[in-house]
């Protein structure tokens, strides 16, 4: 029996009179990779932000028993006035009061792992989008979170840079990290997920193993949603425009 690391009970979140999340129940096991998909505006980001207490919640509870949570954003959000290394080591040194030399060593090891060792002294503005996002991931890792949240971390990237970031995340999954990933990259979701959650209208409409979900969605809404990502109909018609 896997160990439960995060439990969300009846989570409700409203903006004004609009209910974005309507009684979400979700529990995550240690080492599990959960991918959240759903139409734009269905509340995927809101869900992650609530989990990470960037938003107040209106009802329900989020139990993480003190497990640390790290988050990576779509727009990287590195600190522009700090070097790559300082971006990464700021929180471990200033918040966690860990030993400087030890933190630096760890940061450099992580940078090496994502292929950016030579960028340690660069500033964010000198990096490409894909490099920035890999740094942002390393920054999140360096505070040693037990749960990692990713909010469409490749959505702002040029296509040729998407892969380098996804590879880092696949590597993390392989290491047995607990991750909740919001993404529009369906092939990647299929490859990385232990479980897929389909969010729509403030509810979890469907959830299951990635293979089941992507190949045989049970609900109409999930089917409709997945159709958007497929060009099969177009190809069937043959001629094109």
């Amino acid at each position: 029996m896997a160990e439960k690391i995060l439990e969300i009970k009846n989570l409700t979140k409203k903006y004004g009179s609009q209910t974005i999340l309507d009684g979400i129940d979700l529990s995550i096991d240690k080492g599990e990779v959960v991918v959240v998909v759903g139409p734009s505006g269905c509340g995927k980001s809101t869900l992650l932000r609530c989990i990470n207490s960037l938003e107040d919640i209106d009802a329900g509870e989020i139990v993480h028993d003190g497990h640390k949570i790290g988050m990576v954003f779509q727009s990287y959000e590195l600190f522009p006035h700090l070097s790559v290394l300082d971006n990464i080591t700021l929180a471990p040194i200033k918040v966690q009061k860990r030993d400087k030399a030890e933190v630096k060593k760890q940061a450099l090891e992580l940078l090496k792992r994502v292929g950016l060792l030579d960028k340690a002294d660069s500033y964010p503005r000198q990096l490409s989008g894909g490099q920035k996002q890999r740094v942002a991931i390393v920054r999140a890792l360096c505070v040693e979170p037990e749960i990692l949240l990713f909010d469409e971390v490749t959505a702002a990237l040029d296509p040729e840079m998407v892969r380098e970031v996804l590879d880092v995340m696949l590597d993390l999954a392989k290491q047995g990290r607990t991750m909740i990933i919001v993404t529009h990259e369906m092939q990647f979701a299929k490859a990385v997920a232990d479980r897929v959650i389909f969010l729509d209208g403030g509810h979890i409409v469907e959830e299951g193993k990635p293979k089941e979900f992507f190949e045989n969605p049970k609900t109409e809404r999930a089917k409709k949603f997945l159709d958007v990502f497929s060009f099969d109909d177009y190809l069937k018609d043959g001629e094109g425009i």
């Binding site: 990470n52 960037l54 640390k68 949570i69 790290g70 988050m71 954003f73 727009s75 959000e77 590195l78 600190f79 522009p80 006035h81 700021l90 929180a91 200033k94 918040v95 966690q96 942002a136 920054r139 999140a140 505070v143």
Partner: protein
């Protein structure tokens, strides 16, 4: 040769008087700057708070000061307030009051602009890394605000220094006033002196303001 009437500057202590006049202008500027910059930081920070009443009051203050020409402000404070309140204000003190009011308003607007230009996500990614509110300000927000602010405030400082030339209108004897006195006194012997004297005034202002603008440009390049 072109006669600029420069010889009048070497008569008696004229050059020295001109430099003393420059010192008066610089002194008024320095005191006003030293007081208005920190005040501006307070005003600007208060302008970003949620309280609508505080915001409205500061908005009115800022707009009034900006709409009024500095000369009018000087007249109001120097002549107006002495009449209305019956106190005795020296020209220098009146000038400093006006420049502090003006500098704090302009600086406040710069600070407000710098603060709101920091994206919301910077606060959030900082929070997501576990930084407290105070730590977020110390390590993330204030350093970025200062970097944006320094070149802008240096520009404001040079504007303040240049504008101090207005104080001659309320009888403060600063450089421009001395220049006029020298020209006036030598009207008969050196009718061309106005060219030379104002040229020297121009050069002196340039020598004070130019290094400051260079510094602003340098910092802008380094930090943006």
């Amino acid at each position: 040769m072109l006669d600029l009437g420069l010889e009048v500057l070497f008569k008696g202590s004229n050059m020295l008087r001109l430099l003393q006049g420059l010192w008066v202008a610089v002194k008024i500027s320095l005191i006003s700057i030293a007081v208005s910059m920190p005040l501006g930081v307070v005003v600007g920070s208060l302008m970003t708070v949620k309280n609508k009443f505080i915001k409205l009051i500061l908005r009115i203050y800022l707009e009034t000061i900006r709409i009024m020409p500095q000369l009018v402000l000087l007249f109001i404070v120097y002549f107006g307030s002495t009449r209305a309140l019956g106190w005795n204000l020296s020209g220098e003190v009146a000038s400093i009051i006006v420049f502090v009011l003006w500098g704090a308003a302009e600086m406040g607007d710069l600070v407000r602009g710098a603060l709101i230009s920091i994206p919301k996500h910077q606060y959030e990614s900082s929070k997501a890394l576990g930084l407290s509110k105070v730590q977020t300000y110390i390590y993330i927000i204030i350093p970025q605000t200062v970097r944006r602010l320094v070149p802008l405030s240096i520009n404001l400082i040079t504007r303040m220094i240049k504008t101090t030339s207005l104080v001659l209108m309320i009888g403060v004897v600063e450089m421009l006033k001395v220049a006029q006195q020298i020209i006036e006194a030598n009207r008969m012997v050196s009718p061309n002196a106005s060219f030379g004297v104002f040229l020297v005034v121009f050069i002196l202002y340039f020598l004070v303001c130019w290094p400051i603008s260079m510094l602003a440009r340098h910092l802008e390049k380094r930090w943006v």
